[in-house]
Amino acid sequence: MTTLLALAAALPLYRATWDGRAPRSLAEAPFVTPWNWRRLVDRRPGRSLRQPPALWALHPIPGDDPIWTPHAHEDIAAAARRARAVFREAGIRPGDVVLSIAPEGPWVANALPFLLAAADSLIPDLPPLGVQVFPLSALTVAFKADLTVFPFAQMPSVLVGAAADIRAVADLAQRAGVPPLHCRLLLLLGPPPEAESLAQVAETVVPLLHLPGTIAPFGGHPGSAGVWLPAAVVSADVIPDEEWGRALQHPAYVPPAVPVAAALGTTGELVVSLANQALPIVRLRTQERVRVVEVGADGAYVVPLGSRSVASSPQVLRLQG
């Protein structure tokens, strides 16, 4: 990760955040908040880049405004390769019929159906996933409930989406007279809802988590306790809940973050670093609340718990003094 710091050192986002003093290690690097990101990247995107991006995508930040994230050609190809591995690991099998429910808005999660269906355009050296994908979105189904009729009738074996969107689409489908869904596998984006409502939808639930800076999600496997964050891809820390509370009481206080490897059992806000080619991400506060449930030498499992209910951007500014 010292390479990551070296890559980042010349970029205005980090020069501004680091006050001109390059940290010696990742643990020393100050946090970048979504507010910093919007101020320095979204407003002056041309000055923030390490490599020309092929894509700018919106990434939703729980409880806050979304941020624009750049992705270079290499980042996209790497994401396609990783997505394939994540979907396989999550339990998707050749022949599966996948119903993918997109969130409302043009978020990076909208790339999921294409990654499922056609990632081999970007990684021709690997065999395809071999699945058929039916994409839907809660927004379009709200206007045209009969869009659900055909894909539901194909009896999808896999369902992908966030609990709220799946519930909204299922309710609309029911009103359109479509029988309820029951799948082998649910790839659940974001935090799980009440357990009983999931049991009706799928036999097995595997969590997925989108992190800023990558168009492919991170995921678990059937039977895993959470989402696998491989250390080779993402350097993850957690700001424990109790530290966050202290920061609210004392605005000048900068909460410490604990590397996930040392945070077993901890619940808190996820902080991530990624060696992206377009714009490396160093210690970005994701505002995703997670619990670290398993750690190993090569990564950790975390359970997404939803939004870290932080203050809005101007309040964050005041907190930072």
Binding site: W56, G105, Q132, L136
Partner: protein, 481 residues
């Protein structure tokens, strides 16, 4: 930029015909295995192996949208011509239930290749091709198109930069694009004009907000400028090209130039076949990629005869028509998952030119004039005439009605002419206006400023418009073409 594949894109028409015939020889036996064609062709006594020429193709029965909706009752496997299906997209279902279309790997490869053709067509100067796409969410193909572009262009390492967004995040996207000015914008023309109205109305407040957030000379100048200048998108974004689809561009072309200062090019695409046909920067019609389909046209006169007495109309190969001919577009696609053989699109096209274009391409050029079917077409907002008839039929006191679609500026406005029956209530006009505006999709268009509110005119007599065969038309589009 040079043409991506001159041997195909600039091939003489004879070569394109030969290519189409070679395609047919492979296509028909493959398509015959599908339940979509098997029974229909068998009933017509057609031997698919003998359909080896464009002339022979004329014996093949037409395929209609309703056939594509109904065929799936036989089960997916019985219908698909290629088992390697990857993804499905749906039409919006304006004229009935949505039609879902399978895309096999081969279709996606073609989709990706066509996006590379378009890149070479649009990237008229060196440097980064920076493109902002305001698409529609799944399950519509425009949502996936963005990612197909990305896959294709990223795989080829083309110098592209896409900003992907949707109407739900238009404001946020525009703020970002002010700093990352796109050279190309892609979307629906009416939507981009609606966005332009929003920019013009919101510019002073946005400038004040920018000054409050970040006081500087630049933001202060912004506040001053918006006080004296009626800010238009062309002052802020300055894209060179706009690629617009989903509705005919003609009514919007000049307003787009005025508001955005861009060169508006038309895109014609259908969910049923993932091939995007586009106008080149010569702006002399949409190039129909005639290596991936066999284009035919049913002349208007033949369509009218069909309406009058049910005669099955004859289609003419588009290469054998003359510039100016207008009719329904019929095509045979060389698709993989579900090739369409003589598919009647319902779209009315005009043949613009058949000779070599100034860009060097030889693929024929067309314009889309509108729809032929039972549709009230207000651009993005469409609904069936039968829905309108049902609403009006439920009211008492209407002797006759006619709907004329007029344009006020670039926006469509439905004008309903009513002849009251005897004993009609005094408030018939208001009741009818409410009944029409209650059509959900129309209300959505009116609420979002894409369509002007319905105007009702009570008249003593309807000024009838008839086809040459005498059929009365109840929905008349007065849109200038």
């Amino acid at each position: 930029m040079p043409i991506l594949d001159p041997a195909v894109e600039a091939a003489p028409p004879g070569d394109l015909r030969a290519r189409q015939e070679a395609g047919l020889r492979a296509l028909l036996p493959r398509a015959a295995r599908s339940a979509l064609y098997r029974r229909r062709w068998s009933a017509a006594g057609l031997d698919p192996a003998r359909v080896t020429t464009l002339e022979a193709l004329r014996q093949v029965p037409y395929l209609r949208a309703a056939d594509l909706r109904e065929v799936w009752r036989d089960g997916r496997e019985a219908v698909l011509c290629d088992p390697d299906v990857r993804i499905w997209f749906a039409t919006s279902g304006t004229t009935g239930a949505p039609k879902w279309t399978p895309y096999a790997r081969g279709d996606l490869v073609m989709f990706e290749e066509v996006t590379r053709r378009i890149f070479h067509m649009m990237a008229t100067r060196a440097g980064i091709f920076r493109c902002a796409i305001i698409g529609t969410p799944a399950p519509f193909v425009s949502d996936a198109a963005a990612y197909a572009l990305l896959a294709s262009h990223a795989a080829a390492r083309l110098p592209v930069e896409y900003v992907l967004s949707s109407p739900t995040q238009a404001e946020r996207t525009l703020a970002f694009l002010a700093a990352r000015r796109p050279s190309v914008v892609v979307g629906f023309p009416s939507l981009f004009l609606r966005i332009a109205e929003g920019i013009a109305a919101g510019a002073p407040a946005a400038a004040r907000r920018a000054w409050r957030d970040e006081p500087s000379l630049r933001t202060l100048a912004g506040v001053a400028v918006t006080r004296v200048v009626h800010v238009q998108p062309r002052h802020v974004y300055r894209p060179e090209i706009g690629l617009f689809g989903g509705e005919p561009l003609a009514p919007y072309r000049q307003p787009l130039l005025d508001a955005w200062g861009l060169r508006a090019l038309e895109l014609y695409a259908m969910t049923e076949f993932p091939c995007f046909h586009v106008e080149c920067p010569e702006q002399s019609g949409i190039h129909l990629w005639s290596d991936w389909l066999v284009p035919e046209v049913i002349p208007l006169a033949a369509l009218d005869r069909e309406e009058a007495d049910g005669t099955v109309p004859e289609a003419v190969h588009l290469f054998d028509t003359a510039a100016g001919m207008v009719g329904e577009f019929v095509y045979t696609s060389f698709g993989h998952a579900l090739p369409l053989v003589r598919y009647r699109t319902g779209d009315v096209i005009e043949v613009v030119a058949l000779d070599r274009c100034g860009c060097g391409r030889t693929h024929p050029r067309i314009r889309v004039r509108g729809r032929r079917d039972d549709l009230v077409n207000l651009g993005l907002i469409r609904f069936s005439t039968s829905e309108l008839d049902t609403r009006l039929g439920a009211l008492h006191g209407i002797g006759a009605w006619q709907l004329r679609i007029v344009r006020r500026g670039y926006k469509p406005q439905p004008v309903l002419y009513l002849v009251p029956a005897s004993g009609a209530p005094a408030a018939l006009g208001e009741t009818a206006a409410r009944a029409v505006a209650d059509i959900e999709v129309l209300r959505l268009g009116i609420d979002n400023g894409l369509v002007l509110p319905v105007e009702v005119k009570i008249v003593a007599e309807i000024q009838e418009v008839r086809t040459w065969s005498g059929k009365r038309r109840r929905v008349i589009e007065e849109t200038p073409t």
